[in-house]
Symmetry: C2
Subunit: 680 residues, 2 copies
């Protein structure tokens, strides 16, 4: 044993020698060990709890004696009496090093604990949000050295927390004096400091404040607005909630909303007002769910497509509806929530909006890139976020490309005769027997297939109401696999297919999936028009992906990531039968869930991630599908199911598609290829 | 002659050689010659006009040929045709150097023209305001290199004007796109960039904007609010206006307003609202006077005492009413005018408030220091700004001290039996014949003395209504010189003084200055109570000055500067007879006019001055009169007229004061010395 005992921290493994009597917290700080403290080591906050280890540690080469730490002191005793401390715990600021010691920092005592684990990459997200609460002790005023209370608070924060250049607005300056005096010159200050701005006071409380600060991660979509309520101290998601975007009443898709703004003076203001109102309602609702006051929400991070981005900010989106699709501003924004009239949040709450990549490739796509990190990928990855527009990223650590493709709402069940949103009663899974051509299906709300004797009873409450997006993809793919649909997209007649389920509807045919009319339910069929809508959507998606692959001079990718809530429900096999995505081994198709929402949570939890995605967005190469002649070519070729020219060798290993053709020279021919829709 | 012609600029005398064909503007920029340009040399703004000189210039050693500049070009011809150009002028961006040339930059083509000349010091104030308008040409959007319009505007400003890190709020971002397109990618942008913040867009206009930006320099006093409206391009004062501070209804002096806030919950909010309302009215009125739209006012600079400072900011001033007189914030503030509800100004106008020196020594005193620059003075200067409180600065280039002294409102005519504010009809000058003891006087509104035969007619319209501050000082000093008042401050009886104008009033005497009762006017006399009020006020002022002199270990100063509107009207001799100010040669007493207002104009005109005064305020040593025991001693000793113990040798050279004493042991004794008032 030397004069200076050895201190070893786990799980970090960091170690160093310190003079006898050094507080554990001090040792941790000097070694850069992640040990929390809100009160700065004053024995008030109890955040610095550690677990000392005693006995033999051959792995570390030390023996820890029972007297390796100073004795339990009165601060610890008082804390334990009032609040209770777990067995074996000590306060890091009180316990002093007396001999060689092994100290474990439990997860709840780590500031930068991991909150979002990304299995696809090596990076884990740790808590380092923009807004923190700091406890400080402020010097009292001195007539001989007159300075403002705010200046002495700033000095204290600089000295005790290394926070420099503090700012505060007039309203908070007005609250400062009574709070300092009530707290007897001890105060807890919530400070917002992101990766580029000056630190600003958000709120303050007398003495040591035990409250919590919350943040919202919001994925503001054209159709739905989804939010996570996050505890900014530990990253816990307290509630997740969503609602329909009320702008839907101005137009279902983005282009119709841009048109509404163009045709109706002040229409953009109406839509801005509608979405801001909805966001306030969402903040209220999610707070009620989590049983907190929405005014404790001090930050909101937004990801959204460019049109939503502009309408949120109160910017007329008209330029986004016409070439050259110029954004008013493309870089990230950090601004007061009050600028966006988000009055439900804390008065001094801040908003961060991720950068847009291009006029059609928004902050939502940036959030997907932040979550999925194609720029860190060793292999070539294609990431598609399927919504009314599909955002597509393709690349690897060398280079990443992005584009947006106007798939339209067919994948969401819109523009489909029996289509509906994913809700109980909607058909979500379909199988068609290749021999009998009889279908069986499952509906949301029940795990039973429709050929199960208990199915009718299990679905009695919800009924069988329509087909949702994933059901559409499955039924069309199953029809193709069962020989009911040819490569050109034509549904065969009863005669051609040998099943009475193929019924004539005018000059084309439809496939009867379910007839509920006997029980007062709907007749659910897949019409030729439905097939055309799906063909347009999947062609746009595939053409966008191919355009990026062309630019990268590759003709296959190593893996495909399906992002978005929809992506989580798509069967990779069915998607590939349709030719939605390029051919890869089926086990190389994974779902990332709501990657945009995850990206928003990452940006809310870690300001370093904000800087990282801002830099990465500048590196991502944008491809504008609207002006690429090859997009049209790819689109036409992708109209066939799965494709007119591209082979799907990996798919062929598991599925063989019947070589049927129902084209009798009549109408309804396959490859019309016309762009019936632009930007949806 | 060499290959590179010699270019000499006057009046700067800067010279250099440039390749043939160099535009004059380019040469000026390379030499650091102050030659204006708003459009960046595109021949649009015409701000870079210069006057070439031809012929022999023996002083410069050059001969300038007629072909020393390129010929008049079509841009110049067009400008001359449309707007007209003065004889002999050229556009600096168009005229190219062809041979040796002498070029004069006329004052209107200088950006940094001198606008405020300070005779007391060597420094002149040049125009370098925080808000400028810049003309830029912005790159059009490119789908292949997508970036926001705001980012391309930022790039243009960086490249063309070296403005880095531009910011804009959401509202201005929303206006950007239509303006850029209307101006065909040419735009004029007003940008606020002070000495510490990031540059922010204030407004923008399509194309080259010819309009003007204005600023307000506001001296927000307890009694009056005075404002100058300044053209931010050239520093011209377009209008000056003032109004009563409406907070007077909550209390005449500062302490009574602090009391109002203490006694009435929400009282501080009422006073804040009142002053902000008045400021909006003032902005309207001054704009009407200058025939501009108040929404063209993009900046306001405030100087004020600490209580006004807090009430303007919406901060309860209660802490300023009790030791230790802690300011909520002491440093300068830069904030949006909307934070102060100054809705009459431009929507995005900014406010700058000078720093406070201490709890009793406000931004108004800082403004006096900025204007009078005691820190640059070679000799020892005492600066007193006389108002309801006196702000006192004392020092030289080595060290400057400051304090505030509670003189009360007597010097402003309040608490004086016949006192009134300076207005037509008020007695402002007084002389008393030392032999006859008869007075003569002048009133505001007439240049005649009251013994002039034409006086009655000249003052018939206004009447003779009372005595204003300067009149009070003169009459009391004259009474002392005429032997009507003794050193202790007692007015003699008719018997003691030999004049029936000394009339008994209860147990003391009064001096009858004017009896207007015959004409229905007032009886104007100076009572013993008036003398006591003046004694309290002047003792406080003198004691404050002496306290600073003690701290500096000096017993005399080299010169005295009287600041404030009141200071401009005080007769130095009478002030010194009263013992308001320390003894110096009378010609060393000067008036600085409204130095606080001048300081506000300087800070409005020049951002370097803001940085300078912020640094200087940190160096100024503050002395708190309320806690200095010696202040009481000095106060008591200063009660005598002119002083109980301090000699006035310089005064003695020009005035000999009769050695009278009217103290008969009765009441009304002189040196009560009690602090009857605190902070007014």
């Amino acid at each position: 044993m030397t004069d200076e005992p050895l201190v070893i921290f786990t799980p970090s493994g960091k170690r160093g020698r310190f003079p006898v009597g050094t507080p554990v917290l001090t040792a941790a700080r000097q070694l850069g060990v992640d040990l929390d403290s809100v009160c700065g080591g004053r024995g008030i906050c109890s955040k610095c709890q550690i677990t000392p280890g005693y006995g033999e540690f051959p792995k570390h080469g030390v023996t820890v004696g029972q007297d390796a730490l100073s004795e339990w002191n009165e601060v610890e005793a008082r804390y334990d009496r009032i609040r209770g401390m777990k067995e074996g715990r000590r306060l890091g600021c009180q316990a002093k090093v007396m001999g060689d010691i092994v100290i474990d920092v439990p997860p709840e005592s780590q500031v930068h604990r991991q909150v979002i684990r990304k299995s696809a990459t090596t990076r884990d997200i740790t808590m380092d949000p923009a807004t923190h609460a700091y406890y400080v002790e402020v010097a009292e005023p001195d007539m001989h050295e007159p300075s403002g209370d705010f200046q002495r608070l700033s000095d204290a924060l600089r000295q005790q927390w290394q926070i420099d250049g503090l700012e505060a607005d007039a309203v908070l300056l007005g609250r400062l004096q009574p709070i300092l005096r009530k707290g007897e010159w001890k105060v807890t200050v919530a400070i917002h400091k992101d990766h580029r701005g000056k630190p600003r006071i958000i709120d303050l409380w007398p003495g040591f404040w035990e409250g919590r600060l919350y943040g919202l991660a919001i994925d503001l979509g054209s159709t739905t607005i989804a939010a996570h309520l996050v505890d900014l101290r530990n990253g816990n998601v307290l509630a997740s909630s969503g609602l329909m975007n009320p702008q839907i009443r101005f137009g279902e898709d983005l282009m119709s909303r841009v048109s509404y703004a163009m045709m109706n003076p002040g229409g953009d203001k109406e839509m801005t007002s509608a979405v801001r109102h909805a966001l306030n309602g969402l903040a209220q609702a999610i707070s009620t769910e989590a049983n907190i006051d929405p005014r404790q929400i001090v930050e909101a991070v937004f990801v959204c497509n460019p049109v939503m981005h502009h309408l949120l900010l109160g910017i007329d989106p008209v330029e986004l509806g016409q070439a050259p699709f110029a954004l008013a501003t493309s870089e990230s924004l950090s601004l007061p929530a009050s600028d966006l009239e988000l009055g439900a949040l804390h008065d001094h709450a801040r908003v961060y909006i991720l950068p847009c990549i291009a006029g059609h490739v928004g902050a939502d796509c940036a959030a997907v890139a932040l979550s999925e990190e194609p720029d860190k990928s060793e292999d070539m990855v294609l990431i598609v976020d399927v919504g009314t527009n599909a955002e597509i990223l393709c690349g690897n650590k060398d280079r990443v490309l992005a584009c947006s493709s106007p798939t339209g709402p067919a994948f969401e069940g819109a523009q489909i005769s029996a289509g509906q949103r994913a809700a109980p009663g909607a058909i979500e899974r379909v199988e068609i027997d290749p021999v009998t051509k009889e279908p069986r299906f499952r509906v949301i709300g029940s795990d039973l297939w429709s050929d199960d004797p208990a199915f009718a009873a299990a679905t009695a409450a919800t009924g069988i109401t329509g087909i949702c997006g994933s059901g559409i993809i499955e039924v069309v793919a199953e029809m193709r696999m069962a020989g009911l649909l040819d490569a050109g997209g034509l549904i065969g007649s009863a005669e051609q297919t040998g099943t009475p389920r193929c019924i004539p509807t005018g000059r084309t045919n439809a496939y009867l999936l379910h007839d509920g009319t006997a029980n007062g339910g709907p007749l659910i069929s897949v019409t030729q028009g439905d097939i055309r809508a799906i063909q347009l959507a999947k062609s746009a998606l595939y053409a966008g992906a191919r355009l990026l692959m062309d630019e990268l001079q590759i003709d296959k990718v190593d893996r495909v990531v399906l992002a978005g809530a929809f992506g989580a429900h798509i069967s990779p096999k069915h998607a590939m039968v349709l030719g939605m995505i390029p051919d890869v081994p089926l086990d190389k198709v994974t779902s990332a869930g709501n990657a945009a929402g995850t990206g928003a949570r990452i940006a809310l939890s870690n300001i370093g991630a904000r800087a990282a995605i801002e830099a990465e967005v500048k590196r991502i190469h944008k491809v504008e599908t609207a002006i690429e002649p090859r997009f049209q070519e790819h689109f036409v070729a992708a109209n066939a199911i799965p494709h007119a020219t591209d082979g799907f060798p990996e798919l062929s290993k598991v599925v063989s598609l019947p070589d049927v053709s129902f084209n009798t020279g009549g109408s309804g021919g396959g490859a019309d290829g016309g762009r019936r829709r632009r930007r949806g």
